[in-house]
Amino acid sequence: MTKTTSILMGGVGGQGIVLASKLIAHVIQAHGKELKISEIHGMAQRGGSVLTYIRFGDEVASPIIEAGQADIVLASERLEAWRWLPYLRHGGTMICSTQIIKPMPVITGAQKYPENIMKVLEELAAEGKLGALYAINALEVARQCGEPKAANVALLGILAHCLEFPLESYLAALEALVPEKYLDVNKKTFMAGYEAVTKS
C-alpha cells in the first residue's frame, strides 16, 4: 500500500472552492485512485472560512486531515494560508494566493490582519521547513486572463506541478466540468498558473 496523499484547500465562502475540488477529484479519479473529499457546509457559506480535505491513494480511511498531516495546503487567500499552515507536514508544499479578503473582526477593527504572513512563509521555505512555497496573486492572474472568478483555477495550475498526474488530465477535467462558455478562459487561467511556476 502506498502512502495516502493529503491536500487541504482553504478559502473564503463564495470563492468557488467547490469547483476546484471537483476538478482535482476528476483528475484523481481518471487515474484509478481511491479518494475521499470532505467539505464543511452550512454557516461557513456565509462569508466564513471554508475548508475542503482531499485525500487519495490505493486506500483511504479517514476523510479528514489533521494538524501536521497535509502534503499540500492550497489557500485561495493569504490569511487562510496563515490559518492552515500548522496543518502542513514538515517539508510540505504551500500554494497560496496573496489576495487579501478582510474578515469581519478586522473590518470592524476588533482584530488586526497579520502583516508578516508572506515574510514568515518565505523564511520557512528558506529554512527548509516548507518543501516548496508558491505564492501568486491568483485573483490578478485570473483577472488578466479575463475572469476573476477563475482565480482558484490558476492555483490549480500550480498544483499540477506538485502531483504525479500529467497536464493533459487537468485539461481533460476542465473540459468535462467547465461549461463551454467559460472553458477557454478557464484553460487560459490554468495555464497562466502552470507557467507562473515554470518560468520562475
Binding site: V12, G13, A25, Q29, E34, L35, K36, I37, S38, E39, I40, H41, G42, M43, A44, Q45, R46, G47, G48, S49, V60, A61, S62, P63, I64, E66, A67, G68, Q69, L79, E80, W82, R83, L85, P86, Y87, L88, R89, H90, G92, K102, P103, M104, P105, V106, I107, T108, G109, A110, Q111, K112, Y113, P114, N116, V120, E123, L124, K129, L130, P148
Partner: protein, 584 residues
Amino acid sequence: MERKLLSGNEAIARGAYEAGVRFASAYPGTPSTEVLEVAATYEEIHAQWAPNEKVALEEGIGAALAGSRALVAMKHVGVNVAADPLMTASYVGVNGGLVLVVADDPGMHSSQNEQDSRQYARFAKVPLLEPADSQEAKDFVKIAYEISEEFDTPVMLRSSTRISHAQSLVTLAERQDIPIRPYEKNLAKRVMMPAFARPRHVAVEARLEKLAAYAENTPLNRIEWRDKKIGVICAGISYQQVREALPEASVLKLGLSYPLPQRLIKEFAAGVEELFVVEELDPFFEEQIKAMGIKVRGKELFPLTGEIHPNLIAQTILGQPLAEKLEAQAREEGTVPTRPPVLCPGCPHRSVFYALKKQKLLVSGDIGCYTLGALPPLDAMDSVICMGASISAGLGYEKGNPDLKGKVVSVIGDSTFFHSGLTGLMDVVYNQGSTLTIILDNRITAMTGHQDNPGTGYTLKGEPTVALAIGPICKALGVKRVREVDPYDLPALEAAIKEEVAAPEPSVIIARRACALLDKSTKELYIIDEEKCKRCNHCLRLGCPAIVKEEDRITIDASLCVGCGVCVQVCKFDAIVKAGGEND
C-alpha cells in the same frame, strides 16, 4: 457497473432510488439537506419538503402503510420534533418499508446542539444502521428496507457530518422493481388506542429479540482480526478514524448498531488483550457492553463532546500522535483573526437587527441565517433555543418578568414560522400577550442553501403550487395588528417597530424582501464621498462585509456591494453616495 464519486447524502438518495422508494419527505437541515434534494432528481421518487420533521415522518408513515417504500430525512434535532410519531410508528410497524435517515452533527459544524441520535433508536426500539462511507450509505439504505419489511419496523439510518458531506466512490446498481404492496385495513395493528397498543408493545419487545438474533449473523456486523493486542469496537465514521489511527488493531465494526450482537461482542472481547470502544458523543455502546459484564474502556479515555479524530485515537491508545505540527513559532496561536460567517452584503435581515439594537429591545431569536444577528456588531439577540422557540419563549419572557413588558420582540424567518411558529403565535393571542413578532420573510429557506417552503409557491420538484400568505395566516390566528415593511426602508422599519412593540396587544411585522443571494436585479452601487465622511464609524455598526475600515478611511468594496442602500440611511453626513452620481 459504473463507479461514481458521491457524498454520503447523494449515496443515501441513490440507495433509496435503487431500493425502489416511491415517496420521500423531509425538512431541510444541515447536514441532511441534500438527501431529499438528490432524491427529488429521480423521476420515480415523489419527493417533497414538509413544513417540519414531524409532518415529514407522519407523511412517511402514511406512505409506508399505503404500501410504498418511503424515506424520511432530517438532521439530529429534527428527530426531537418527529419524536412523537416515531415512538408510536414503532408500535404500528410498516407495510412498505420505512427508513428514517438522521444526520448527526458531532462538533456542531452547523447546529445548536450535538445530541446523539442513536439514543432515539433505543428509545423507540427500532433497529439502527450506521454506514461508514458513501458505498455503505447506499448499500445500507437497501438493506434497511429489507429489514424494515422482514421485521415489520421503521428503521433508523444514522449518518453524521463526516459521512453525509464526505465524497467517496460508489458502485451504482439498477433500480429494483418493488411493486406497491396491497393495502388492507388492520385496526388492531394501526389504531393505537390502549386496548390495541398493549399487545403491540409486546410485539415490539419480541421484535427486538428477533433483531438481536439477526444482528449476530448479518454481514453488517463483522470482526476484522488483525493484531490481537488491541481490539476496538466502533461504527460509522469512527470506524474510518480507528483504521487511520490503528491500522494494525483488530476491529469489531458494527453496521447494525442497535440492537447489539451480544454473542459477537463476547467473542471479540475474548479474542483481544485490551478492549476499547471508540464512539463520538455518548457512551452508547460502552454502557451496553459494560452491562454485559465485559471489561472495556471508552469514555474514561475519550471525550463526550465533539468529534474524535485519528490523532487523538493514536495518542490515547498507542501513546504517540500520528503527526507533529509544522514547527512555526512565528505563527503563534491567537494571532490568526477569526473569519466568522456574516450576513451577506445586501441581506434584508441586517437593517432589522440594526433597528432592534438601536431601540434596546429584548430579542427572542430563532434558527436561520438571521441567528447571525446575535454577533457583533449587530449584537441584537438575547436567546436562541430551537426552531420556532422565538415566539413562545418571547411570550414567556413577558410573563416571567413584568419589567420586560413592552420590550419583547420575537424574530423568526418565514420557513421557521411555517415549521413551528404558528402555534406559538396562536398562544400569544390566546394568553393575551403583547409581544411583537417580526417575521423575516426572505421568500426562501436560506440557511440550508435555498429550499422552497409553503410560502414560496414552488414544490421541491420545482412545480408551481399555492404560495401561503403569512399576513392572512397571522390574522386568522387572531393577531389584529399585522403590517408589512420593506426592510430596505430603514425609517419605515424603525417607526413600525417603535409603534408595534409599544402596542398593548399582539402585533406582527412582516419584513419582506427576497434573500440578497436570489435577487438578480442590478442596482447602482455606492461609494464613500471622502470629503463628506467624518470617520464616525457609524456605518460599521451595520456589519456589512462590503464596508471596510482602513487605516485612515472607510471604503466600500465594489466587488461585494450590491447596492441595497441601507448604509446610506444610517450615515448622518450624507457621505455615502451612488457610484454614478446623485442619490435619489
